[in-house]
C-alpha cells in the first residue's frame, strides 16, 4: 500500500515538474479560459441580469472546454521517445499510473480554476466571496468527476490520429449528469439556497465521482496494456 502511494506520488511529481518547467501549457489554458468567459459574455450579454442568471452554466462550460485540452497532453509527453513503455515496465500496479495521472490533472485543472473562477465572478458579477466554501466544494466535486473520466478517455484518445476530436466526442456525452448537477448546484448556491435541491445535486456529484472513479480504475488496466 505504502509502495503504491509512493509510486502515485512519483508520477504526480513527474507530471507536475514537467508542467512547471515549461509553464507554456498552463498559461495558454488559463488565457483560453479567460477568452471563453469573454466570448460567452459577448454571445449572451450585454444584459447583466441574463448574464447573472446563466453564470453557473458559463462557468462550467468554460471549465470543460479549457480543461479538456490538458488531458491528451498528459499522455502525449509519455508517447514521445517511448516513455509510456518504460512507465509500464516499472514494477507495481498499473492502477497507480492512472491515479497518479488523475491527481496531476486534478491539480492542474484546479489551479486553472483558481485563476478562472475569480475572473468569472468579476466579469459576471457573482457573489463569490460570500459563498466561497460551498462553491469550492461543488467545484472540487465536479472537477474530480471531470478529471477522472478525462484522464481515462485520454489514455485512448491520445494514441489516435484524430485525438483532438475523439476526446471530446467520447468524454462530453458521459459528462451530462455531472454538468447538470454541477450547474444546478452552483446556481443554487449563488442564489443563496444551501439546502434542499442544492444538497441533492451535490449528492449526485458524489455518486457520479465514486461510480466512475471505481469503474475507470478497473477499466484502465485494459486500456493501458499493450
Amino acid at each position: 500500500m505504502n509502495a503504491e502511494a509512493r509510486r502515485i506520488g512519483a508520477i504526480v511529481w513527474k507530471d507536475l515538474t514537467a508542467e512547471r518547467r515549461t509553464k507554456a501549457n498552463f498559461n495558454a489554458v488559463v488565457f483560453l479560459a479567460g477568452l471563453i468567459l469573454l466570448l460567452f459574455g459577448f454571445a449572451i450579454g450585454p444584459d447583466g441580469q441574463t448574464m447573472e442568471l446563466i453564470a453557473g452554466g458559463v462557468l462550467w462550460l468554460t471549465v470543460l472546454f479549457s480543461g479538456v485540452l490538458s488531458f491528451n497532453r498528459s499522455y502525449e509527453q509519455e508517447l514521445e521517445n517511448g516513455a509510456l513503455e518504460m512507465l509500464l515496465l516499472y514494477p507495481g500496479d498499473r492502477r497507480s499510473i492512472f491515479v497518479g495521472k488523475l491527481l496531476a490533472n486534478l491539480l492542474f485543472v484546479l489551479l486553472v480554476e483558481v485563476v478562472m473562477v475569480p475572473l468569472a465572478a468579476l466579469l459576471y458579477d457573482l457573489p463569490l466571496w460570500r459563498f466561497i466554501a460551498p462553491l469550492s466544494l461543488v467545484l472540487l466535486l465536479g472537477t474530480i468527476g471531470f478529471v477522472t473520466l478525462g484522464t481515462f478517455y485520454a489514455a485512448m484518445a491520445s494514441r489516435l490520429r484524430a485525438r483532438e476530436v475523439m476526446l471530446p466526442l467520447l468524454l462530453f456525452p458521459m459528462l451530462v449528469p455531472l454538468l447538470v448537477g454541477a450547474v444546478q448546484a452552483t446556481g443554487g448556491i449563488l442564489n443563496g439556497d444551501l439546502l434542499g435541491s442544492t444538497a441533492a445535486w451535490i449528492r449526485l456529484l458524489v455518486v457520479f465521482d465514486l461510480i466512475f472513479f471505481v469503474a475507470a480504475l478497473f477499466a484502465f488496466e485494459y486500456v493501458i496494456e499493450d
Partner: protein, 242 residues
C-alpha cells in the same frame, strides 16, 4: 497463428439466421397489419397514436441492445475471445440504428402533439445522449486499427457507457422536475386494446433485432477472415519476392 480452423468455422451462416430473418419479416408485417387495420384509433390523438406501436418497441429494443453491448464487452474482457467483440460492435451498430429511429419517430409524434419537434423531456434527452455515447464508441472503433486493442478499448467504453445510462436518465429527470415543466405521459394513455398491438410490435422488433445483430456479427466474422486472408497473401507474396 493458424486461421484454418477459424476460416472453416465462420464461413457458413449460423443455422438459425435465415429462419430468424423470415420470422422477422412475417412478424413485422403482421405487427403492422394489427397496428393499422385491427387496433382502433385513439380517442384523443386518432391515428397519430399508432406511431407509439413502433416508437416504443424500437426504444425498448435499443435499450436491450445496449445491455447486450455491456454483457458482450464484459465477456470480451473476461475471456479475450474476439467473437464477443464482434457481437458487441454489431449490437452497438444495430442499437444505434434503433435509437435513431426512436428519436425520429418521437419527433414526428411530438410535432403535432406538442407543436414542437424537440422537447427537453427526460426520456427524449437521455435517448439523444445515449445515441451520442455509442456514436463515440463506433467512432473510436473506426479510428483504432489494431484489432486486439480496438476490442479492449471499445469494451471499456461499452461498459462505462452503459453504467452512465441510468445516471443520465435520472439526472435529466430531476433537472426537468425542478423546473416544474410537465410533459404528456405517454404510458398513461395506453389502454388494453392498444397493449396487444404494442406487444406484437415489441416481439416483432425483438426478432428483427436478433436477426440484424446475428447477420452483422456473421458479416464481421467474414470481414475478419478476409483481413486475415489478405495479410497471409501479402506475407507469402513478399516472401516470394525475396
Amino acid at each position: 497463428m493458424s486461421n484454418g480452423g477459424l476460416l472453416a468455422e465462420a464461413h457458413r451462416q449460423p443455422h438459425w439466421l435465415a429462419p430468424t430473418g423470415w420470422l422477422a419479416l412475417v412478424a413485422v408485417v403482421a405487427a403492422q397489419v394489427t397496428g393499422f387495420l385491427i387496433s382502433r384509433p385513439d380517442r384523443v390523438m386518432g391515428n397519430l397514436q399508432k406511431i407509439m406501436y413502433v416508437h416504443v418497441p424500437s426504444a425498448w429494443v435499443a435499450m436491450l441492445g445496449f445491455f447486450l453491448v455491456f454483457v458482450a464487452s464484459m465477456l470480451y474482457l473476461w475471456r479475450r475471445d474476439l467473437k464477443y467483440d464482434r457481437l458487441a460492435a454489431s449490437a452497438t451498430e444495430v442499437s444505434v440504428l434503433f435509437t435513431g429511429l426512436t428519436l425520429a419517430l418521437g419527433s414526428i409524434w411530438g410535432r403535432p402533439t406538442w407543436g414542437i419537434w424537440w422537447t427537453w423531456d427526460p426520456r427524449l434527452t437521455s435517448t439523444a445522449i445515449m445515441l451520442l455515447i455509442y456514436v463515440g464508441y463506433l467512432a473510436l472503433r473506426s479510428f483504432t486499427e489494431d484489432e486486439e486493442r480496438r476490442a479492449r478499448w471499445s469494451a471499456a467504453v461499452g461498459v462505462l457507457g452503459f453504467l452512465n445510462v441510468p445516471i443520465v436518465y435520472f439526472s435529466v429527470k430531476w433537472w426537468r422536475t425542478l423546473h416544474q415543466v410537465q410533459t404528456v405521459d405517454v404510458t398513461g394513455t395506453i389502454g388494453s386494446s392498444y397493449a396487444i398491438s404494442l406487444i406484437i410490435n415489441s416481439l416483432a422488433f425483438m426478432v428483427l433485432f436478433a436477426w440484424l445483430v446475428g447477420l452483422r456479427t456473421h458479416v464481421a466474422g467474414l470481414e475478419r477472415q478476409r483481413e486475415a486472408w489478405l495479410e497471409e497473401q501479402a506475407l507469402t507474396g513478399s516472401e516470394a519476392n525475396v
